[in-house]
Every structure is written in C-alpha cells, then in structure tokens.
Amino acid sequence: MTADPKGVLTGEHYLDGDHAAAEGALAAGCRFFAGYPITPSTEVAERIAARFPRVGGVFVQMEDELGSMAAILGGAWAGAKSMTVTSGPGFSLMMENLGLGVMMEVPTVLVNVQRGGPSTGLPTLPGQADIMQARWGSHGDYEIIAVSPSSPQEAFDHTIMAFNFAEKYRVPTMVMMDECVGHMTEKVVIPEAEEIEIVPRKMYDGPKTEYLPYEPDEDMVPWMVRAGDGYRFHTTGLTHDEKGYPVMNSKCQEKCVHRLVDKIRSRIDEIVVLEEDGVEGADVVVVSYGITSRVTVPAVERARKDGINVGSLRLVTIWPFPENRIRELSRKIKTFIVPEINYGQLCYEVERCAAGNAETVLVPHGGGWVHDPGDIYDAIKKGAK
C-alpha cells in the first residue's frame, strides 16, 4: 500500500527535525494526535495542529502526558493511525500507558525529542539518555521497537518507518530523536505519495462470532478490528486469554507475555536496520546512533587517514538490539567504540553481545552538546592498539 496523497507534502523543503517528523506522520497517514507541550518537541505538535484541519485529522492538546498517551491508544482502537510527541519528563509520564499499549497490542507512535536529564535537566539542549527508558521504562516484561534518526530527512523517513513497524508488529513504536536533530534545519525531500510504502493495519474481516482479539496469527501478531465495527470485543491491561478476557494465573501469563516478547524477539533480524561502512575486515568498529552517528563520521575519516582500520556501524533501529550482528563482529574485531550522549546505556548492550570476544569502550558525554569528534578519534586510536 502507498501513502494517501492528502497528507503528503511532496517537494523539497527546508525543515528542522521536529517539523519533518510531523510531515512523516502526516505522510504515514496519522490522523489523530494527542500531546502536551514540552521543549524541545513542541514544534512537532504545532505543525500537526496547523496541518490536521486541512487533511481531516484531529489534533487535541491534552491536559498532560498521561492523558496524551491514553488518548492515542483510544484513537488507534477506533481505527486511526495515532501519535504523540514528548521529551524527558513527559516521556516518564507516558511510560504508564505505553505499557497498556504493549499489553493491548496497539499500533501507535511516540516521538521523544531527547534533552538532557535527569528530571527537568536541560530543556533546550540535547541528550541521548532515555535509551534504556525506551527499552525498559514501563513496568513488566516486553519488547519494543525504536528508531533513531540523525537528520531532518531521517526524522521524516524514520517516522514513517516507525508507523510501519507499529502496524506490522502491533506494538507502540518510538522515534528517539534528540534536540540537535529536532532543531537542526536541513533539506528534506518528500517524495510522491505513490513512492511511500505504507504498511496497512492487519484487519480481521472474518465472521463476527468467531473473532478472537488475541488469537495469534502465524507471525504471532493477532488480527485487529475497530471499535464500532460490530465485533463487540474486550481488551484489558490485565493478563488475558485469546478472547481478551482477564485470566489471573501463571499459565496464562506465560502464554500472553511470552508472545508479546517473542513476536519481536524471534524476529530481530527482520526488524533491525543498520548502516555499515567499512565494517568487514576492520579492527575497530564505532557503534553509534542518532546525532552521534554524524559526529562519528569525521572521527572515523581522520583515523582512516592515520591508517587505522576502522569501521562504522550505525544503528537506525536501536530496539530491538542487533544482537546477532554484534556477536558476529565481536569474533572478528578488536574493539567496539560506543560514543553516546549519556554515561553508558547502549554500550552495555554491545558489551553483553561482545561477551569478552572484543573489548567495548564507552565514549561518554553528559549531555547539553554533542561529542567533540576528537574524543571519538582518540578512543579509536587507543582501541586499535
């Protein structure tokens, strides 16, 4: 399926990442948005508020982020593609209903334009310290999908990608931007609607009396219906059986939660999107994501000029983590260098998968700005020795 031309602003634009993400949502077919203002993500909401009345969508500024996340779940159940956007403190509040979205298997998108934390932290400056919160922020066990754009163009492209993941796997999907990407302005090319691939919702259309809302299909993802279509289904945040009815025992818990985890965990390689540059045969590989992957480029180039055999592995999807690829590389290389704007989050995933086969070196940054490429270069040089 391709995009509905109504929401697609085909052409060349000069946009910042926040505006581009809004256009990505519109192109993906998002028509229900609920959000709450928070720096540095507000421009996403503002653009959607301006654009929705002309494309038949509804924008509502909610009273808080708890309500925003709950509202987009309701919107999705009524049949809309829905989205919200936030940053640090709001992201924390959204964790509650993110869990409900995971449990009810709601396709929806949450954009987090990351700023420095903890708490109110640095509202107007970048951070990449919500990476583990994206993975583990809501209570209980689950798997999640998250992408991490590094430019306004990618903010557009990856938001569409996030909507597609959300529909395919029926899981809330996150776009983990940061303030730098959100506020940098660059050229964004929006293609023709027919060139934009859209994953349609997996709708059930069988006999009404036979519909089981949580009966998994072969891909472990159940079929969805819309409220109002006459299926008269039930759904709950409680552990449930295939009918969607609560069942309070460990047998049902095992069946229900295991599938939520497995529908993603067993298909990691199908989900993962990586960009590799000179990784094969390298001694050192820099693993990066988001804005940091751009700061990595000059560091890698400089190291190569010095004759160091260094590759770059850029994570487009950060969750689920590309375990297999890191394991495979760890047997061939000496050192992973992991620069991130935090004091160590994704680097622990790299270290876990490297399992002692290769060394893992964190290049931390406390937030508020991006790395000095020189720091990454120094780490590469050391790692090559």
């Binding site: 509804v58 509502v60 709950a70 209903n97 819309r226 409220a227 009815y245």
Partner: protein, 292 residues
C-alpha cells in the same frame, strides 16, 4: 445407574444480549451496588434502542473498573484514572460511537481528576457514570477523594479529616452539560438519568452513590449493603435543580439526589467544526471521524 435429569428451563435472560454471560459469575460481593448500576445502564441502553455495535464502554481500575469486562460491546479496561482520555481518543477518532465511561470515584476523581475536569471543560461528547462508594474498595478500604468527613478508612484509621469532593459541583464548575446524582436504590430514576445522559450531546455525568458492603459499611459498622439501601431510602432528598455547591455528603447524613444540570453548549467536535468553517470557509470539510 444413570438418572434422567430434566433439562433446566433455559429461558433467555433479558440482559443476555448486553452481558458477557461467559464471564458470569462476576467478581462483585453480595449486596454491592455495582450490579444495580449495570442493570440500570443495560435498561437505559435497551430503552433507547441504541445499536450495541455503536456503543463502547471504557473503564479504569477498581471494583467499578471491572464493569467494562462484563458488557458485551466494544469494551476497554484501561489503566487507573485514564478511562476518560482513552475514551476521548475513541470518540474523537469516531464521533459516531457512543462512548461511555463507567468507573469509580477514586479512579475518576482522584488519579483521573485532571482528565475529568478537562474533558468537561472541552465538552467532549462522552457520558461518565461515576460510581461513588466513598472508598477505595478493590485495594481494601483506603480513604478516597469522596470519603465523608469522620468516616473510617484503612488509611484514615481514626476517621477521615480530609474534605471530600462534591462531584456534581466539580462537574458543573468544570463545564459538564448534564449532571445528576442518584443512588443504587433509585433504579428507575437512575435508569432515566443514564438514558438522558446518553442522549445528551456533550460531557454528561451521572454520579451513583453505591453501597460497598464489604469495606465501607463493614469498616464503619453501618450494616450490610441492604442496610445502606434502607439508609438511602430514609435519608435521600430529591431536589432537582439544586445548587450544586450544596451537595456535600456528610457521614451518614442526608444525601441530596436529583438532576442538577441539563444545559446546552457546543461539543468539542462541534466547536472545532464551527470554528474551522469560519476560518477556512469552503475549504474546510466538517470533521465526522478519521477512520473511514
């Protein structure tokens, strides 16, 4: 030897169509008021002949939160306090759906209080049935934002000294267009109020004072659910159009019931459509829902 047993008479129950009979027996205690609230809701829906396919019920968490699980329409058992914003998302995406929130006082007025006042302010076209049993029942009898002064709760073991909310006053001052209060005893009037609320465009609120026999009344030594029904019978005064500021409820004191507010105000979607038609003129297509 096999004994022939006459098959039990299997007459359809009048509420079969609206209830998930495969989930009965329900979890509620004997003499709890919740069964009566569900019956009143079912009768109202039946009376209005609302097509069940067009109805959605959303609940939060708690004893009342379980209502969604027993009603055979599109039904959503959500998180604590978030039934109203969830319902807002359902309604705004498909305004043709009749969206009803059925939840408790703790869920709607404490943890969900912010959503309650803002949905009322926006006049989101949903109906809220707030079952008020004066206590957090499912968690074992803690003080609620509605617990009358002096009443005992497990987290107010010496009696409550926090002033409770007066729900009709809160609803009216936040912008609700229909506000009524009845008790689980007033089945006929409650049914009528729910029917009126369901027909009212905009944010409508029906508060139902309901006995919690297991926690509130036992802890306060005021008898069983049945005794509370007797209490409602002897101590409720019907005052339609009463000033909502005067509707506080004291411990085992008189309860004013009735229809207090029934007014007109454009709903959220109506306001949006009117305004955008003014701003954009013919270019604006009135919004009727985004899920086609």
């Amino acid at each position: 030897m096999k004994r022939e047993v006459a098959a039990p008479a299997t007459e359809a129950h009048p509420m079969d169509e609206l209830l998930r009979m495969d989930r009965i027996p329900h979890i509620w205690c004997p003499t709890c008021g919740l069964g009566t609230v569900v019956t009143a809701f079912a009768s109202a829906v039946d009376k209005l002949e609302i097509p069940l396919d067009d109805l959605a019920v959303v609940s939060g968490i708690g004893c009342t939160g379980r209502v969604a699980g027993y009603i055979k329409v599109d039904s959503f058992h959500t998180t604590h306090g978030r039934a109203i914003p969830f319902a807002t998302g359902l309604h705004l995406t498909n305004p043709k759906l009749k969206v009803v929130v059925i939840s408790g006082d703790g869920d709607l007025i404490s943890i969900g209080g912010n959503h309650f006042i803002h949905a009322a302010r926006r006049n989101v076209d949903i109906t809220v049935i707030c079952v008020n049993n004066f206590i957090y029942a499912m968690t074992g009898g803690q003080v609620a934002p509605t617990t009358p002064l002096r009443a005992n709760a497990s987290t107010m073991p010496y009696g409550n000294f926090e002033r409770p909310f007066n729900i009709p006053y809160l609803a009216e001052s936040s912008g609700a267009v229909y506000v009524a209060r009845w008790t689980a005893l007033h089945v006929r009037r409650l049914t009528k109020a729910i029917a009126e609320a369901l027909q009212k465009p905009g944010f409508s609120v029906v508060e139902v004072i309901s006995p919690c026999s297991t926690l509130y009344s036992r802890r306060n030594r005021i008898g069983t659910g049945l005794d509370l029904m007797k209490f409602y019978h002897d101590n409720c005064e019907i005052k339609h159009g009463a000033d909502t500021r005067e509707l506080d409820i004291g411990f085992q004191e008189e309860i004013t019931v009735g229809k207090f507010i029934d007014t007109e105000r454009p709903t959220y979607v109506e306001s949006m459509n009117t305004w955008y038609a003014e701003v954009f003129g013919d270019q604006y297509e009135p919004y009727e829902g985004s899920a086609k």
